[in-house]
């Protein structure tokens, strides 16, 4: 693949990400916002591929599209008055908003330029990233990994407790 092809594909994915993210924010219909998130997540996954992080890209699709987006759509579809509720997508407090946005952009650009050569990667990736991620997770990052698993277990037990069938009152919570 030559440079031009890669650049064109990159800009297509970048455009998909930005446009669909704009639809998520500006759409007045919450269903369209939710479905538009699909394209945002996909575009972000494609951008990870351009950073040669295939594992993170696929994880992004599995976790965000397969998990979070489906959960979100279920929630939206099972809510009664979802289609009759108008979402507020108007512009309020125009001047403070602009000031905040400009300040944020300036701050981020300042960080980018002062941190120096953040663009080119120093370590060239070679071979499979998956094995290295596995080894690092099981050695240097063991404690955070186990902490995350305990957190998830607590969330799981909590969800099961809230949703369980209440025998004393013969009803579901």
């Amino acid at each position: 693949m030559n440079e031009l092809t890669i650049a064109i594909i990159f800009y297509i994915f970048a455009a998909v990400t930005v446009v669909s993210a704009a639809v998520v924010v500006f759409s007045k219909n919450v269903i369209y916002s939710a479905f538009s998130l699909l394209f945002t997540f996909f575009g972000v996954a494609a951008l990870y591929v351009f950073l040669s992080a295939d594992f993170i890209a696929v994880t992004q699709i599995v976790v965000y599209v397969g998990g979070i987006l489906v959960l979100l759509l279920f929630g939206v579809m099972f809510t009664n008055t979802i289609m009759s509720t108008d979402l507020k997508a108007d512009v309020l407090h125009f001047i403070p908003g602009v000031v905040l946005t400009v300040l944020l952009i300036v701050g981020m650009l300042y960080a980018f330029y002062t941190t120096g050569d953040w663009m080119p990667g120093h370590i060239q990736l070679s071979g499979s990233v998956v094995e290295r991620i596995g080894i690092e997770t099981m050695s240097r990052y063991m404690l955070p990994f186990e902490m995350a698993s305990i957190l998830l277990l607590v969330a799981l037990i909590g969800a099961a407790y809230l949703a369980r069938y209440d025998k004393a009152n013969k009803k579901e919570h």
Partner: protein, 359 residues
């Protein structure tokens, strides 16, 4: 055979092929699985399934159009193309239209990592198997879009049943495939085939190399039936309860899209099953003394034939089950997934790990 220099040569040569800077080769690489899905769905998928079901029920099936009815599928395509493209007035037009498209794209994207023989694969990712399992998520969103877009309570219920089923069965399916990944020591689809090929044919397949491998093999097969909404797990399209599930309102080519997506994923799960446990494109015939059957039946073309034959065999088993088993109830479906398949998948996972470390 292993570390053969001819791995991926055809697809690498194709993807480097450009005309005046335009990467035509990349498009051809993507078009080959698409043409394959269309051809196989029309011949083996539609016609084959109708004939198999007919023979299993002791009748003849399509017999009128052409000899033994082989032109019936062509007549059906003509009919589908001519049908009026109806969009219900109260439907959400946008979601109604993109639903089948997203679903087909989700089913087709998985073919990117499917090796058609040693010399051809769309993309030899080092996360190939993970990608093939994860990309199914797109199909789920397509089902929800078409179910909600139809604005029909049966369609919505069909969609929600279908999604609940697919999301639940992904867990035993993924754990079962992880057992295969532990045996291969990699997630790359080509690597699975390379480590399972050798002069003794089927003796190198994971299913016969490890005494526990039959358990994840069966678990993945059952879970893949549920992920494709195939019988006995076709609750989402249970015609006696839900008219036709999430595609109740669809006609013409949009309806055909759902069928292409279903046949596409049927082949994909059959191919994944044969790659992870039965050697994919590796020839099952052993070399017997001077009779070098394995060497004779290996190579790029033979590889493509083997993987397609293995895929077709499991599709035949799927069709066979469809016409022999009754449909499960929703609670039985969830019971099977969470209380039977998932614990057994964990047992298989631990046993495989122990076997791989100590044997």
């Amino acid at each position: 055979m292993s570390s053969s220099p001819s791995l991926n040569t055809w697809s690498d040569a194709l993807s480097g092929f450009t005309i005046g800077g335009f990467p035509l080769g990349l498009i051809i690489v993507a078009a080959i699985p698409l043409v394959f899905i269309a051809l196989y769905a029309l011949t083996y998928g539609v016609y084959g399934e109708r004939k198999f079901s007919a023979f299993m029920q002791d009748r003849l099936g399509p017999m009128e159009v052409g000899p033994w009815g082989i032109l019936q599928t062509l007549a059906d395509i003509l009919k589908l193309l001519q049908k009026e493209d109806i969009v219900p007035t109260v439907a959400d037009k946008f979601l109604f239209v993109i639903g089948p498209l997203i679903m087909f794209v989700g089913s087709f994207l998985a073919f990117a990592v499917l090796p058609f023989g040693p010399a051809f694969i769309g993309a030899d990712l080092n996360v190939g198997l993970f990608y093939a399992v994860g990309i199914v998520a797109l199909e789920v969103v397509g089902i929800l879009a078409s179910g909600w877009g139809s604005n029909n309570k049966w369609a919505l219920y069909g969609a929600i049943r279908s999604v609940a089923q697919i999301v639940s069965y992904e867990i035993p399916a993924s754990i079962a495939l992880l057992c295969g990944a532990m045996m291969a020591g990699s997630l790359s689809m080509q690597h699975f085939n390379v480590v399972q090929s050798g002069p003794y044919g089927f003796m190198h397949f994971f299913l016969f190399r490890n005494p526990i491998a039959w358990l994840p093999f069966i678990i993945y097969f059952i879970a893949s039936l549920a992920e494709n909404n195939r019988a006995p797990f076709d609750i989402p399209e249970a015609e006696s309860e839900l008219v036709a599930g999430f595609f109740t309102e669809y006609t013409g080519m949009k309806f055909a899209m759902f069928f292409l997506a279903e046949y596409g994923s049927m082949f994909m799960v059959s191919a994944v099953l044969s790659i992870v446990f039965l050697g994919g494109w590796a020839s099952p015939l052993p070399n017997i003394g001077g009779l070098a059957l394995n060497t004779m039946t290996s190579g790029p073309v033979w590889g493509a034939i083997w993987i397609i034959l293995k895929g077709f065999f499991f599709i035949f088993v799927q069709m066979w089950l469809r016409w022999t088993l009754p449909r499960l109830r929703v609670d039985q479906l969830m019971y099977l997934c969470w209380k039977v398949l998932t614990p057994f998948a964990f047992i298989a996972f631990v046993l495989t790990a122990v076997w791989e470390i100590y044997m």
